[in-house]
Symmetry: C2
């Protein structure tokens, strides 16, 4: 891309993000919903101003979601997270099993093969931790017990999703799945988080002390970013996901005595990249494949809506997996609804391996869109937004409450 075209793309992304973000807020919706709608408007389904597959924009959008999860990690108190650990795990597991079973059954009853049905089930399992966390922080609600359960369950879901993705990918390429192989995938994916947090908790205070002796500008910020990107890279290399590594880095640094300062400085940088991610999610949505004027189009719209209903109900039911403590189970369930980018990754693997026809791919895209776009307004209707404080959205304002708890 030429530098001029690059600048124009950034201008289009920010105008879309801020214009539709503003509209969303005026309609009482989270800004992130507006950013995704803005992305649809300027993307492949609308004005064609942004190419969601342009390599540099794609990398910047990856940077956006990595920084978002780093920031969410920095605002997370590991003790509060562990306190709701059992509830979060139950929600995550139920929230994988129910939609998977429902999608698989729907696939079989529609006459699709076992493997295609497994794929449809798998595409229903993921939760987009990025979208949900962003909505909760837009609403100033990241510090409630419900939000802690959602966050924990979404991270577990992401890890399960990665394992399923690897399994489905192997099946799609005609490979064999062994119990040993699956166990290894699960062990690596969960093990990475445990090792990263334990090792990081030992290393981070040392890093913060060493950086305190440097004279160069912004040494603390850059050391923190280097740790976050380093763990994101390591997570990817270990077979986990970059966002999990970035989240772990945030959790670890939040516990050091410079946690608040790091969070403030990362927040200033992250706000530059985060809207790029959400606009790009919207820009990648291709509405043209779902033409209600044709019989095929109507069929795939119907399949997509059936999958979406299964997806929404399955996740809401999973909320009841969170036992006790007066938790609002409906909030937790609704918080798990958005599928977002993870669902789209599933859909793309299905399409490129030839497992999904273009029509069925559109159905999965529709499912992802519906769950992603109905989640935020439903959550908004259920929780009371807290007033903004001096540091604006993207969750920064709730950090005080959480880290001092």
């Amino acid at each position: 891309m030429e530098p001029g075209a690059f600048l124009l793309s950034l201008i289009v992304i920010w105008v879309a993000a801020k214009l539709f973000g503003e509209l969303a807020e005026r309609f009482g919706q989270p800004a992130v919903l507006g950013e995704m709608v803005g992305g649809v408007v300027v993307g492949v389904s609308g004005l064609h101003l942004i190419d969601a597959h342009e390599p540099t924009l794609h990398l910047l959008s990856e940077l956006g979601v990595i920084l978002l999860l780093f920031l969410i990690g920095l605002e997370t108190n590991i003790h509060s997270l562990l306190k709701v650990g059992v509830a979060a795990f139950a929600v995550a597991v139920i929230g994988v099993l129910l939609p998977f079973g429902g999608g698989y059954a729907a696939g079989l009853s529609l006459g699709y093969s076992t493997i295609v049905s497994i794929f449809l089930g798998a595409a229903l399992t993921a939760t987009s931790v990025g979208i949900t966390a962003r909505v909760l922080s837009d609403l100033g609600n990241l510090d409630t017990p419900e939000s802690q359960v959602i966050l924990g369950a979404a991270v577990v879901d992401d890890i399960i999703g990665l394992v399923l993705l690897a399994i489905v990918g192997t099946l799609a390429r005609g490979g064999q799945i062994t119990a040993g192989g699956v166990s290894k995938l699960v062990a690596v994916a969960f093990g990475f988080v445990v090792v990263a947090i334990v090792a990081g908790s030992i290393f981070a205070p040392w890093l913060v002390r060493a950086v305190g002796r440097l004279r160069v500008a912004k040494a603390l910020l850059f050391s923190s970013l280097i740790l976050a990107f380093g763990l994101a890279y390591a997570a990817d290399a270990a077979g986990s996901a970059m966002i999990i590594g970035a989240f772990a880095a945030g959790v670890v640094l939040a516990r050091t005595d410079k946690g608040h300062q790091i969070e403030r400085e990362v927040h200033d940088i992250a706000q530059f990249f985060i809207p790029i991610f959400f606009v790009m999610v919207g820009a990648a949505v291709d509405l043209r494949t779902l033409n209600p004027m044709t019989a095929d189009g109507r069929r795939y719209i119907m399949i997509g809506l059936v999958l979406a209903v299964i997806g929404v109900l399955g996740k809401i039911a999973a909320g009841w997996g969170a036992r006790g403590k007066g938790l609002r189970k409906i909030v937790i369930g609704v918080g798990m609804v958005p599928r977002g980018e993870v669902g789209l990754i599933f859909a793309n693997i299905g399409l490129t391996t030839g497992l999904l026809t273009r029509g069925l791919y559109s159905s999965v895209t529709l499912l992802v869109m519906v769950t992603t776009f109905v989640g935020p307004p439903m959550l908004r209707a259920l929780v009371t937004p807290k007033p903004r404080q001096e540091i604006p959205p993207i969750a920064a304002h709730v950090s005080e409450a959480m880290t001092d708890e």
Copy 2:
């Protein structure tokens, strides 16, 4: 580039920038010198960890220099700049004529053709406004009258450099130069700045007022970035340079009543990108072409050093073009010395059009390196650094003094 490789590249760039920036500061040098040295170490002349031609990294480095000039513009008081306008213009013109004449004469006396000699002269004319401004701001000296002259002259130099680049490019491709064509180039390049500042001064207060009514997060920051990138794009499209457009946007926004707030918020973002630019400048330096073990290598090293001496002396002499007011002319002259990226762009055009042999290309690269690396320490020796204030380097700390003048 894969996301993992992208994260690793950013880690390498920041480690190089901050490690060598720290070393530079401990040796009493500006951090930017360390960043460029760090770039040489990790780039093509050293560890080969960074590819200076990788498209995404290149775009981010462009973003770095655009944000740097936007920030410098935000810290510039248009009235102080106009007050030194005549002096700055004289310094710029002399600083173009002397090195150009010297380089041309040197080329002819070494037996090169007229066109190659013109090219060598042209490559000596540019001043890297980015490097000089960054050094002055690292030293907390951006608000002195000398710095204002340097800044003004460097901007004028950049514009003259663009015109020369267009002329030399045409000559290199065998085209003809007409007086009318040159006049038009000059008119467009200077006219853009005037139009941008006049139109911007009318539009900017309206923009700031309109943005004040928005609810969405960081509306002022993003509107400012959109204006800066928009003017950068327009400058490029009009035949001027992106950095000139970004500088103009900064100058215009500095005059609004939100100037200080914009500056603080842009500063937080810019610090993420600016080191990428300087590390990439260093990473692009290829020392391998200058092998002192061969007769050819020694010859091209000699030519490069002769050009460097002409370049340094010509710019220092230009400092005497700034008349009156007790200005320290030697500071102004030395401030004009670094050629930086602009010189490298000249060299690359020479190489790709076949005007420069690979050997002569290395000589020009050496000239650029010498002027770029001797400038900052010389300037450091001549000026007294001012103590840091709460907002760290990259010039932000001097804004108070300037904008309230």
